[in-house]
Point group: C2
């Protein structure tokens, strides 16, 4: 057994690339990921799963086709499966994501913003 705490801000300090989620833990077949984000991501959806966003520092907005939600430190939101969304951060922001193992960051959209999956830190 490994009895070491997972320090989220310590793990975040190891991430330099933006929009590249890194896995820090698994709960059954779900993964807890951390990411640094800044700027606009791409519009996409995940038809097979909900997706949790929790802001650890900074502020982000999740755009929807008919609205948006802004998340500040200590705030979270669950994007329902199948709903198109576009994450955005005006300035540097650090987030925690929770979703099943294997979910692609760009969902149905794919393309050049697709990050390598299942990369642990």
């Amino acid at each position: 057994m490994d009895y070491h705490a997972i320090d989220l801000h310590g793990k975040l300090s190891l991430i330099s690339e933006k929009w590249s989620p890194r896995v820090v833990a698994e709960v059954n077949d779900y993964q807890v990921k951390l990411a640094r984000i800044e700027g606009d991501f791409v519009w996409h959806r995940h038809d097979e799963t909900d997706e949790l966003f929790l802001v650890l520092s900074g502020e982000m907005t999740i755009l929807f086709r008919d609205g948006e939600v802004t998340l500040r430190e200590g705030e979270m939101y669950v994007v329902p499966r199948g709903i198109e969304h576009c994450p955005r951060a005006a300035a540097q922001c650090s987030i925690l994501l929770l979703e099943p193992r294997g979910v692609r960051n760009t969902g149905d959209a794919g393309g050049e913003r697709t990050a390598e999956n299942d990369v642990w830190i």
Copy 2:
């Protein structure tokens, strides 16, 4: 669609009872729960699932039969399925839990510390 952020500390302020997890969100069939804890809980295990603990404020220790891990604000730990553990907090502590819907807080132990399940705030 409900475009309201879930403010974890705001939700925590609605909880008075200790050791009674309250649901704040679902991700597919998983639930995000918040709890205020203080003192010793009971030894138990969950044979069917891992369980994530994330400390939002204060400090807690998870005792195992052969060791322990202490978690401070911003630190997390995943207790593997089937492993006996006993959560403890010397002073007031607020935590976020993640586990599949329907998991009983006292696991196999049951007893008087068993909280009502699936209570949302």
